[in-house]
């Protein structure tokens, strides 16, 4: 027994085993730490982009990144008996409204004619 404990080769093996274990643990800890830092950086980048680069600090307004300017806010818009803000595109043209159609139109409360 004493011989085995004092065996330099056995000591070296035990030492190597401990070093190897520590190396593995250090490697795992490094990976976890790197992952956490990467995640925080990514979250910050997304947050900054969401706020159009205006959330904090001095920001350049150059560039053409995606913005949220036209994102629907609140209840959107809709016309009577018309679909609400669908992405569906329809292009049509027509001539002037007939007098009959104009008579059927409700009396306007306001006019959108530009300023």
């Amino acid at each position: 027994m004493t011989t085995v404990r004092n065996d330099p080769a056995a000591k070296r093996r035990r030492l190597n085993l401990r070093v190897s274990t520590l190396k593995r643990r250090f490697g795992v800890a490094s990976l976890l730490g790197f992952g956490a830092i990467f995640g925080l950086v990514a979250q910050h980048a997304v947050g900054t982009q969401k706020h159009s680069g205006l959330a904090s600090g001095q920001v350049s307004t150059s560039g053409r990144g995606a913005t949220t300017f036209f994102d629907a806010s609140g209840p959107g818009y809709s016309f009577n008996d018309s679909a609400v803000a669908t992405a569906e595109q329809s292009v049509a043209s027509s001539a002037q409204a007939s007098p009959q159609q104009q008579q059927q139109q409700p009396a306007p409360v306001a006019q959108s004619s530009g300023s």
Partner: protein, 310 residues
């Protein structure tokens, strides 16, 4: 062309002038006095801060800053932020930094006073200056590079309309229409109908029934003048710095907010009838275009004539 407007039963209207245009407020009759005072005060505050024609406005001070960092109010910061965001979102089709070109073609005073300005020898600058504007939200500061000046007239009007509706909601007014020079937004329903009938366009022949959201119209039929022998209007193409020649006479856009509708109408005007469809579809908007030849085009869920008349 001015057309006859009616006020549905149970509602009342109040009109006043602000930000270089006519403002209209329509609310339930018993809330008119309070609503009118609220909206008038709001527009007065916005005009004092954001008018480029008032030397004492914050915007005028900013435009004179020539590269210096200027501390601005929260209101001015938010409107400038929104204008830059709008420019980014439209790839520069909406451009708040075209003021030097507007001045060059003679629109250097309120429109009523423009008259017939003398030709300018200066070359067009074109847009894009907004890309070099620096904002610092934490300090509420803005830095305009030398040569860059902002005109926030259109977007500020749209935002003031949206802010007015919010303010009226804060007063517990659940049915309201606010219009500034025809850029308008509605909230709630009018008592006698499901929607707000709005005459669209210069001739006002077409009526759409807006249930919720906003409408804005840009046109070259108004704010026209002559500079020497050259006809001018106020809608500039940022690519050239000159009045647009996109083949359009009038553009109306429906959007969730008046600010969005106003910006989109300007962008569509610059794009022209061929490219407008993609822009309108991409942003989920609805639009009505009138070509130079009078032909009408509708894009997105804009009501057809038959629907509007049904």
């Amino acid at each position: 062309m001015k057309i006859g407007l009616t006020v549905p039963s149970g509602l009342a209207r109040h009109s006043f002038g602000a930000m270089g245009t006519g403002v209209l407020v329509v609310v339930p009759t018993d809330r008119l006095e309070r609503a009118a005072a609220e909206v008038e005060a709001l527009f007065a505050t916005w005009e004092q801060a954001l008018s480029r024609f008032r030397p004492t406005s914050e915007l005028s001070a900013l435009n004179r800053s020539s590269g210096r960092v200027i501390v601005v109010s929260e209101l001015v910061f938010e409107v400038v932020s929104a204008a830059l965001e709008a420019a980014r979102a439209t790839g520069g089709l909406f451009d708040p930094s075209l003021l030097p070109d507007l001045v060059r073609i003679g629109y250097d005073r309120t429109f009523d006073a423009v008259g017939s300005p003398k030709p300018s020898a200066a070359a067009p600058r074109g847009g894009g200056g907004w890309r070099r504007v620096r904002l610092d939200r934490s300090r509420s500061t803005i830095a305009l590079p030398p040569g860059v000046e902002l005109d926030l007239g259109g977007i500020a009007k749209g935002m003031a309309v949206d802010a007015s509706l919010q303010a009226l909601a804060g007063l517990g007014i659940d049915a309201a229409l606010v219009s500034a020079g025809g850029d308008l937004a509605v909230r709630g329903r009018s008592p006698q109908s499901r929607a707000w009938p709005i005459a669209v366009g210069e001739d006002g022949n077409e009526v759409v029934e807006l249930v919720r959201g906003a409408l804005a119209t840009s046109t070259t039929a108004r704010r026209r003048w002559r500079q020497g022998d050259v006809g001018r209007h106020h809608l500039l193409d940022p690519r050239t710095g000159e009045p647009t020649r996109s083949g359009l006479l009038e553009v109306s856009v429906a959007a969730p907010t008046c600010m969005q509708a106003e910006v989109a109408a300007k962008a569509v005007f610059v794009l022209g009838p061929t490219l407008a469809a993609g822009f309108v579809a991409r942003h989920g908007l609805a639009a009505r275009l009138v070509n130079d030849d009078g032909r009408r085009i509708v894009l997105g869920p804009w009501p057809t004539r038959a629907e509007a008349a049904a």
